[in-house]
Each structure stands twice: as structure tokens, then as C-alpha cells.
Symmetry: C2
Subunit: 196 residues, 2 copies
């Protein structure tokens, strides 16, 4: 006695998504069975057109619906600063702060020995093609081993081009407790201390 | 700066699924963006045809691709016993045991005051239309408050029809530890003790 093929097919589709195991995929398929038909059709159509509608900006690599993203098209933004981030998510996070008014460059990952991700797999070469008129590059990759490696790699290349390069600060998150902080964060927080 | 509309649409679709919150839905949408196009198209088509292909068996309520499920169509199975379960998942679980050779009846839920699920919302009336020639009904709803309520309700109605009715046993799961068992399970395990 096996699940009907169409059921197993949907379970397989769900299982391909990250963080969804066999049991969860089954549960989701049962749920889809109980959903209003119009919602399921909408889901299917949204998926079908998703990749056709969403593109990576030809200039910065951020996600957008046309050729270029909103930010690259906005001439009021400071064209002399580029903030380099790992993923489009980070662009949205930065924009929420409402303090940065320059441009972005989305790498779509980090250099990683473990994953075998090399420079050529990332959106890096196009960064060096858009440095005319750029005064500062802010390296805002994550404060992880891979993020640091990638930032150091880019910093070296940018130094050769005589571009001012900065790295976002590490330290204790606002609202956190010192006794809960990991040692490395605390060390970075001490090293980065400022006179008050 | 907002996410592109097509992106938000897909996030919304994922958010409608159970156990998937805003952050997970976003993560899944990013993942879909990075998937091979053929897989995404396959996912969309599978979803599109899913509800058309999967039906509830007209006799027992189990899921199947035609009008009647494999089990109801299998004349070698014991037609005199019906095992009543809450969901198709339970049929698959029972079948894995390979010890039960009768028929099933899937309620698609339980009577629940909290959810407002009444007898009329469940696949119950059709059970009483298929009792000719049936000698025993095994009530295999879950050992939860709702499952017990539903089993008791059915047991009363079946008693009027002079059908032998049984309830699956409660007790300690095999391989479990007594000191980890909850009190109710331990009590049921004591009450259900057998001479050895
Ligand atoms: Zn852009
Ligand atoms: Zn059936």
C-alpha cells in the first residue's frame, strides 16, 4: 500500500526545499489537499512565473523585476559609495536602517572552502567594473569565517585600486547581555572600544 | 525599498502553509530563486494537477487517484472488519504493521468542541451505510481527548446496531522508559496489564 503517485510527487517537490524533511513534506501535501482550489492554483501560477519575473539587477546583483533595481536607478543616491553584501536580504536589512544612501553590490554568497564556492561563483568581477567615481567600498559581509575571508580578499584587491575600504563593526548587539555574549564578540567589542 | 511584487506573492503563498512563518517563507522564496528552472516548473505543475488527481475514496474516505482506493478494491481483504481512523496518514501507518487485513474508514478529523468540528463535518454517516456484513469495527482514533470523544460517540451508535466494537490499546510505547512516561500513559498501561 503506497501513497498515490501525485501525492508522492508533491511530497518530493516539498522535500527539495531547505529545512523540509520527509514528515514535514507529507504534512504539507495533506494540507494542500485541504486547501481551497483557488489558493492552490494561485500558488502554482506564482511559482510558474516567479523566476521569469524576478531577476538580478545587471549592475549590482540585487533582486528586481526589470533589468536594474530601484536603488541603481535612483540618481539621488550617493554614487560614490558601494556597500558590498552577501545577499539581497542584507540589502533590505540595511535599507531598514535608513541611514545609508549609497549603492550596493550583492555577492550572492561568500568564498567558502567547505562549499567549494570560489571567486568565480560569486558576483565579484562586476564589482571591479563599476569602481569609476567610487570613493569608498563598505564591506558588509557577515561576521562569520566565510564573511571575513571574503571581506579580506576584496580588501586586498581594492587596496590595489586605491579605493578607501571599510569593514562594518563587530561588537555586542544593542539590548544584549554581556554575560550571554560569546567570547569572540566580547573581545571584538573590547578591541573596538571608543572614548566617551 | 520593498521586495518586488512577484517575490512578495510567493512569500505569501508559502506563508499560507502550516508551520511556515514570515522568515521561513522569505528563505524559501530565495531558495526557489536559486533552483533549477525545470524543478520549479515541475513543482508548479504538480501543484496545479494535485487536487484534480487526488480524491477521497467514495467508500472509505482514504486518498486515492481513482474513485475507489486500492484497499476497498482488494477483494482478498477481510470485508467483515472496518478500522476507523482519523486521517489517511493513519491508514498508511496501520498498513506498515502488515497485521491488519480488513477495511478502513477515514473520518478526516475528530469531533472537537474547540475547533467547532461536529459529526456533520466528518466522514461519519457513510460509515453507517456500509455496515452490512460487518462483524467488527475497530476504533483507531488517536488517544487524545478529541480522539477518545469521537471513539465513544461512535461506540454508542455502533452498539445500537449490534456491531462488535473495539478500541485500540493504550500503554507504554515499545522501547520507551517508564520514568519518562506521562502519568496517564502509565495508568493506562497498568489498567491494561495482562497475565503472562
Ligand atoms: Zn541594482
Ligand atoms: Zn477506500
Amino acid at each position: 500500500m503506497n501513497y498515490p503517485k501525485s501525492f508522492l510527487d508533491l511530497v518530493e517537490c516539498f522535500k527539495r526545499l531547505p529545512g523540509i524533511g520527509g514528515k514535514s513534506a507529507e504534512r504539507l501535501a495533506y494540507y494542500v489537499l485541504s486547501m481551497d482550489k483557488e489558493y492552490v492554483q494561485e500558488f502554482a501560477h506564482t511559482l510558474m512565473n516567479f523566476q521569469d519575473n524576478i531577476h538580478y539587477c545587471k549592475k549590482c546583483g540585487h533582486i528586481c523585476e526589470g533589468d536594474y533595481c530601484e536603488i541603481c536607478q535612483d540618481e539621488t543616491r550617493d554614487q560614490s559609495v558601494i556597500c558590498v553584501v552577501e545577499s539581497p536580504k542584507d540589502v533590505f536589512a540595511m535599507e531598514k536602517v535608513r541611514e545609508y544612501h549609497g549603492l550596493y553590490h550583492v555577492l550572492h554568497g561568500t568564498i567558502s572552502m567547505i562549499d567549494g564556492t570560489t571567486v568565480d561563483d560569486l558576483n565579484i568581477s562586476s564589482l571591479f567594473e563599476r569602481l569609476d567615481g567610487v570613493k569608498e567600498v563598505i564591506l558588509a559581509t557577515n561576521p562569520t569565517r566565510e564573511g571575513e575571508t571574503t571581506a579580506l580578499f576584496l580588501a586586498k584587491l581594492l587596496a590595489k585600486r586605491n579605493i578607501e575600504t571599510s569593514r562594518i563593526a563587530n561588537g555586542l548587539p544593542i539590548g544584549s547581555n554581556i554575560d550571554y555574549a560569546d567570547e569572540l564578540t566580547l573581545l571584538k567589542s573590547l578591541e573596538g572600544r571608543k572614548k566617551i
